[in-house]
């Protein structure tokens, strides 16, 4: 890839993307969407190597290079190791999708400090550690894309999600500050805020709760992971070159 100003000129060698939390759900779907756009894809996973290998197989079937890479975004050493492995086997990361997420719902009055920390560690600290690790090479290349997967919960409160919404609102704030820091270097940093998406994360919810969520959403249904992945792939691509620091709701109208 060569870069002239903000102009993006893809060459034979594909742009390399790293997606965290990509063994399932939105991350998994994003790998496929990015592969379809011709990007080489590193599939980051922590606990589910099979799901990651499945994403690798799907990406490879699209004719791009792909690799499953173990990454615990909460851990600086693990993040560095993962980036080094991607750099060695695919090349420098030009597109980073901070998707790895954690949620454990509970009313604040009885919410444990451990769960608060666990939520912030993955959703906020993890995105920071990965972004920081990715930025040096992006600055040097004068091109880069960071897409942070936040949540509609960053924009509107949810009872039982004090930690989750705090982490996602924090991620939106970080997105805007980073966008200002590096926006002059051909790098964009944006956030997507999915509403209710049919993924493993929302599976444990009871039918009654799901029904209530559906009623809150003008679209009248949950999103599929592909519907969110499409927006992530857009933000990662050359067409989105002037979108920076944006927070894009992908929520079927939930926060409208």
């Amino acid at each position: 890839m060569s870069v002239r100003g903000s102009e993006w000129v893809p060459e034979a060698e594909a742009t390399i993307a790293l997606v965290t939390g990509a063994s399932r759900g939105i991350g998994h779907a994003s790998c496929l969407a990015l592969a379809r756009a011709g990007l080489a894809v590193a599939v980051g996973y922590r606990s589910d190597p099979e799901g990651a290998e499945e994403a690798v197989a799907k990406a490879t079937a699209e004719g791009v290079r792909s690799l499953a890479v173990s990454i615990d975004v909460r851990d600086e050493g693990s993040v560095d190791e993962a980036f080094k492995r991607v750099e060695r086997e695919l090349g420098p990361v030009r597109v980073l999708v901070n998707n790895a997420g954690f949620t454990r719902d509970g009313l604040a009055v009885r919410y444990s400090t451990e769960n608060w920390d666990a939520t912030l560690d993955t959703n906020l600290r993890g995105a920071f550690l990965c972004s920081r690790r990715a930025l040096a090479a992006m600055l040097k290349a004068r091109w880069g894309r960071i897409v942070n997967v936040a949540s509609a919960a960053a924009l509107r409160g949810n009872a039982g999600q004090a930690a989750y919404s705090a982490s996602k609102a924090g991620l939106v704030g970080m997105t805007k500050s980073l966008a200002r820091e590096v926006g002059g270097r051909g790098i964009t940093v944006n956030a997507v805020c999915p509403g209710f998406v049919a993924t493993r994360m929302t599976e444990p919810q009871s039918e009654e709760i799901r029904q209530r969520y559906v009623e809150m959403t003008p679209a009248g249904r949950f999103a599929t992971p592909d519907e969110v992945a499409a927006v992530i792939a857009f933000l990662a691509g050359p067409e989105a070159s002037y979108v920076n620091g944006a927070t894009i709701a992908v929520d079927g109208g939930l926060t409208a």
């Binding site: 040096a136 600055l139 040097k140 820091e181 590096v182 002059g184 270097r185």
Partner: protein, 83 residues
């Protein structure tokens, strides 16, 4: 490495990174006032210096650095090159 050689190398890297002509990058040149470098320019220059010389320059140590000469001294100290 001799001090003169180090000085030359650092100045070249700074000139490349700050996109200024090499003859403007003298030890007395001030990053902000003379070379029009903002904080991110400086961070990028430090990243390049770290890579070139295989050293680590923590943010705290960069805080007092205002001139090219101070940057040269910082790298020299890291590498054990005497003035």
């Amino acid at each position: 490495m001799e001090m003169a050689e180090l000085e030359q190398k650092v100045c070249k890297i700074l000139a490349d990174n700050l996109s200024v002509p090499e003859d403007q990058v003298t030890p007395s040149a001030r990053f902000q006032e003379d070379l029009d470098a903002d904080s991110l320019d400086l961070v990028e220059a430090v990243l390049a210096l770290e890579e070139e010389f295989g050293v680590t320059i923590p943010e705290e140590e960069m805080e007092g650095v205002r001139t090219v000469g101070q940057a040269i001294q910082l790298v020299a100290a890291k590498l054990g090159v005497a003035a």
